[in-house]
């Protein structure tokens, strides 16, 4: 027997009350845990996906939409831009390198993105098997695509028009998988990458079979004799001055639009921030109420237990021991609440991730633990101390003789 066990016995003696208090606190902490996990991983993922991309150039429209569609591949593209114009912009002396993107198709909901090998270098990808594409209609698929659809090198499939599933199929030409990427933990896990040429040819009415055998451009823009379009350009600046001059230049002097991923994403987080703050506030209120609940439960149980406490004193318990006995009860309760809260939080995220295997939620992990979660448990214990301080003090002051003669 010791004080911890004694406090535990008293908690177990009131299972319903104890469970309710633990669950209420756990609920509040679970909400905060999910927010913490999502915020951390979103920001992490967002900044990893945008690494090396200083500017996105595309058709006029919402700059946020342009960034979301071209960098994170979650929203719809703003439209297409003329190839000639894109090449013109890319010759600007403030630009170090550009990567063209051509979008418009998907396979089973995974986006087919036409680009060149610079895109692979940008994210420094490594191949699980196979090699980059060299001919039209050769594709490289991300790890998640391979895992979820069970595809491997050499497999062929037919893309569908549109960037989300369930629209008409391009049945004229099969895509053939030339390579599968290893897990990168970034957006490419969810993509099917191919050459710009593949995207063009799949939308052509007539097929020139000579072109199909010709190697595609691995860097820069593909050569073409026809007027062609691409979706957007990923731009790397040559020097810091570009950040000041280039967006203004493109936005004012051409029919194109330039958007900075870092600026647009911080704007997005600002917008989301209000919602996050609201949910956080709700969680804090739940936690405060649960703290109050624990306080009231201890305070009320003390009325019934004054007799028990007096008896403990007669068999040798000191005032300090009774104080610690009640304090431990509150701490034990909130410590358990903290642990259960973390568990529920991770479980909730796991369910969320399992249910959304594509889009923004995909790629989040439920089995990641943050240092902040330790602080949460510590915070929970602190609430336990606060809630049980007054009841513990009352236990400390119990007048034995008066209690026993009642």
């Amino acid at each position: 027997m010791n004080l911890l066990k004694l406090s535990w016995k008293y908690l177990v003696a009131k299972p319903l009350n104890t469970t309710l208090n633990i669950l209420l606190l756990a609920l509040g902490l679970a909400i905060i845990t999910v927010l913490l996990l999502m915020q951390d991983q979103f920001e992490n993922k967002m900044s990893k996906d945008a690494v090396g991309i200083d500017l996105v150039v595309g058709a006029k429209g919402s700059p946020l939409q342009l960034v979301l569609s071209s960098v994170y591949h979650i929203d719809f593209p703003t439209g297409n831009i003329d190839l000639e114009e894109a090449i013109g912009v890319s010759k600007n002396r403030l630009i170090k390198n550009t990567i063209p993107l051509g979008m418009g198709d998907n396979y089973q909901g995974f986006r087919i993105v036409g680009t060149n090998h610079d895109y692979l270098d940008l994210y420094d990808v490594s191949f699980a098997s196979g090699s980059p594409w060299n001919l039209p209609f050769e594709v490289v698929i991300g790890h998640d695509v391979a895992a979820k659809l069970g595809l491997k090198v050499g497999d062929a499939f037919v893309g569908s028009h549109g960037i989300s599933s369930a629209s008409h199929d391009h049945d004229e030409h099969d895509y053939v998988i030339s390579g599968v990427l290893e897990k990168q933990g970034i957006v490419v896990d969810q993509l099917i990458l191919t050459s710009i040429e593949s995207v063009w040819y799949t939308h052509d009415e007539e097929h020139d079979h000579g072109l199909m055998e010709k190697a595609v451009a691995t860097t820069g823009f593909p050569e073409t004799t026809e007027p062609r379009e691409i979706t957007s350009l990923l731009v790397q600046y040559r020097n810091p001055i570009a950040a000041v001059q280039l967006p203004r230049f493109i936005n004012s002097r051409s029919s194109l639009q330039a958007a900075s991923p870092s600026f647009e994403i911080s704007r997005l987080f600002e917008l989301l921030g209000i919602g996050v703050t609201l949910v956080q506030g709700l969680a804090v209120i739940i936690i405060v109420i649960s703290g109050l609940g624990i306080f009231i439960a201890l305070y009320n149980s003390l009325k019934e237990r004054k007799y028990d406490l007096a008896v403990m004193r007669t068999i040798g318990a000191s005032k300090g021991q009774l104080f610690r006995h009640i304090l431990l009860e509150g701490v034990l309760l909130t410590f358990l609440g903290g642990l259960v809260g973390l568990l529920i939080g991770h479980l909730f995220l796991l369910i969320l991730v399992l249910n959304y295997d594509q889009g923004a939620i995909a790629g989040l992990r439920a089995d990641v633990f943050l240092v902040e979660e330790l602080y949460l448990v510590f915070f929970a214990v602190l609430i336990g101390v606060l809630a049980s301080l007054l009841p513990a003090w009352n236990a400390y002051r119990t007048d034995i003789a008066k209690q026993l003669t009642k």
Binding site: M1, N2, L3, L6, K9, Y10, V12, A13, Y307, D308, V311, M312, R313, T314, I315, G316, A317, S318, K319, G320, Q321, I400, A401, L404, T405
Partner: protein, 212 residues
């Protein structure tokens, strides 16, 4: 061994109690009789270190217990004084065995053997892991006796231990108290107005003459 000297105690707005001088040795038995309101329980609380008198002193085993402060008094009580109340007061969240072990824990003793023997002798060994609500009145009272004896006290104080028991159980309890006090060579003080107890303890003192 146990000395109670010129104890004066008075509740607010009431007349002071007339409390006897006591001088007892190990193995002594004493029955304190009196009407209700005569101060029997108050005296017992004073002897047990639960209630500090306004003046006078209680000396147990050479220690003036009210010269002890805070924790020291609690520990001294836990180690040397076993108190049995009119109602059993078993800690409701704990089993019978845990009720006895917690007494050990509070004073830092381990008398597991004594506890087992006591339970055996009190006839409640089979109730070790039972909780309060499954015990009969008589059994509960015997558990409270076992708990009072768990730390092998030098003084056993019993406040109306038989009041809520039937004849048979009352007889049993008083015999057990006497036997256990003998075994521990402890002083046994029983406070009662129960006529059934009178025949068992010869040494008696009656209180209740209030100062007029």
């Amino acid at each position: 061994m146990l000395l109670a000297k010129s104890i004066y105690f008075k509740y607010e707005k009431l007349l002071p109690f007339n409390l006897p001088e006591l001088d007892l040795n190990p193995c002594d038995e004493l029955l304190i009789l009196g009407k209700s309101g005569s101060g029997k329980t108050t005296l017992l609380h004073i002897l047990g270190g639960l209630l500090k008198p306004q003046s006078g002193k209680v000396v147990i085993d050479g220690t003036d217990i009210y010269s002890l402060r805070g924790n020291a008094l609690d520990k001294f009580r836990g180690q040397n004084i076993g108190i049995i109340f009119q109602k059993p007061h078993i800690l409701s969240a704990l089993t019978v065995m845990e009720n006895l072990q917690i007494a050990n824990f509070f004073v830092g003793k381990n008398t597991q053997n004594t506890i087992e023997i006591n339970l055996e002798e009190l006839g409640i060994a089979d109730k070790k892991s039972a909780k309060l609500d499954t015990l009969s009145e008589g059994e509960a009272q015997r558990v409270s006796i076992a708990r009072a004896l768990a730390n092998e006290p030098k003084v056993i104080l019993a406040d109306e231990p038989t009041a809520s028991l039937d004849d048979e159980n009352a007889e049993k309890v008083i015999r057990l108290l006497k036997a256990q006090a003998k075994r521990l060579q402890a002083i046994l003080i029983v406070v009662t107005h129960d006529q059934r107890v009178k025949n068992h303890i010869a040494n008696q003192v009656t209180i209740g003459e209030v100062y007029r």
